[in-house]
């Protein structure tokens, strides 16, 4: 069983967590109208064979978002950090609402 050490709750089976995919992508600014940058962000993935940065949410625990570095061949979890500390800022890109 893949186990993830939640920094708030301790080590738990991965079925307590919701997988949310690649954490290496950077979302373009919402005001960015460049189609290629958005296509890259929405559809294209590095998909490494080896160390992969990914988001998991501890859905059945503390419900915190985590950034996990995990090896996609051995499934070994290398590090777990709260996503907020890892720099995931939902409100970074402020949009003017008319």
């Amino acid at each position: 069983m893949l186990r993830i050490a939640c920094p708030y709750c301790g080590e738990r089976d991965y079925i307590e967590f919701l997988y949310a995919g690649d954490a290496a992508r950077e979302m373009p600014a919402l005001s960015d109208t460049d189609i290629d940058r958005w296509t890259d962000f929405v559809f294209f993935r590095d998909d490494p064979k080896g160390e992969h940065a990914e988001y998991w949410q501890h859905q059945h625990g503390c419900r915190q978002w985590l950034k996990v570095i995990r090896d996609t061949v051995t499934h070994r979890v290398i590090s777990v950090t709260p996503a907020i500390e890892a720099g995931l800022q939902a409100d970074e890109d402020k949009v003017e609402v008319a």
Binding site: M1, G21, I35, F43, F44, R45, E54, T72, H75
Partner: protein, 418 residues
Amino acid sequence: MTHYSAFSLFKQALGGNKGWSRAWRDATPKPSYDVIIIGGGGHGLATAYYLAKNHGITNVAVIEKGYIGGGNTGRNTTIVRSNYMIDGNTNFYEHSLKLWEGMSRDLNFNVMYSPRGQINLAHSPAQMDAAARRGNIMRMNGIDAELLSREDLKKRIPILDYSDTARFPIMGGLWQSRAGTARHDAVAWGYARGASDRGVDIIQGCEVTGYLWDRGRIVGVETTRGEIKAKKVGMAVAGHTSHMARKAGLTLPIETHILQAFVTEAIKPVIDCVVSFGAVHFYISQSDKGGLVMGGDLDGHNSYGQRGDLPIVEEGMAAAKALVPLVSRLQLVRHWAGVMDMSMDGSPIMCKSPVEGLYINGGWCYGGFKATPASGWCYAHTIANDAPHKLNEKFTLDRFRRGYQLDEKGMGPTPWAH
């Protein structure tokens, strides 16, 4: 190469079966080829076969890091069908099914194609409507489809749970009678034999480690057995497409995930067709040896690991028990995982790559096995003519940028949910 027939069988039996020749030559790499196909799975071998047969291109090598039939070709649940409804997929998979129907004769190799029929079950009025719509689209494309009622199904597949306490009551389903199963290894062996007989070199135990470049163009491959030049290089390495593309400097709309399959101990015949559950992602059929062959969801996180975790075993078996109660008395004897190219819209990518000299065939998600013959057919055409066949013209890489995704399930770009 020995032509297989009742007569050759009889003749070889009289000679103590000592006169059989190898099914395909164990080739050593030449310095250069017209076309190199990376990956000796079903798709790569079929491509080489049709390059030789349909296009007269025989100076071809298929390079396989392991052995023929040792990758995903030998790791799937052997189902073939053509019940797709999005334009671009529908006729491609139907062409594939037509090739399955004639494959044993064409290859002179028994691939054990068994058109035993496949049912997609419906468990709600909305699912019955969706099944009717899919069936109508199929029939308008000349593909067989039949909407069956609960009563029809009770007679046809009595082993399912039709009781009042069934967790997901069966209301009916969409039946395709020409769908069924085929022997997965035999497909790889048959295409390997057919390609080798037409002059294709099949090179096993040879891993491609990189590409040879000349002024921004790919002109061959670096392998564990030395450099091999080629005018064109085509990858057919589903499960490792991202990995091989990265070596060419390409990023793709693909994530790699693992999908498990399960086999029970052998029992007497109880299910004579392929049954797909409509409530959760689960399907079941019975092999000729008697084992129940089952599969379901991905493990759900990026992996190249070729082995699965236990929660999916539990989930799959819970679905099996809900659909076919008698499985609770059976032992699971094997489970394994294959590595999937999960594309961002659930449909494949087959086209020239942005790098000159390199061609991409990948993103098959869970659906690669049934696509084997048409994939080879269309990929050979794409490589030979530097232009797609009409059947794969929508499997482009730039469809994501242009907004023409082929999202059969309507899931959006969450590849672990397709």
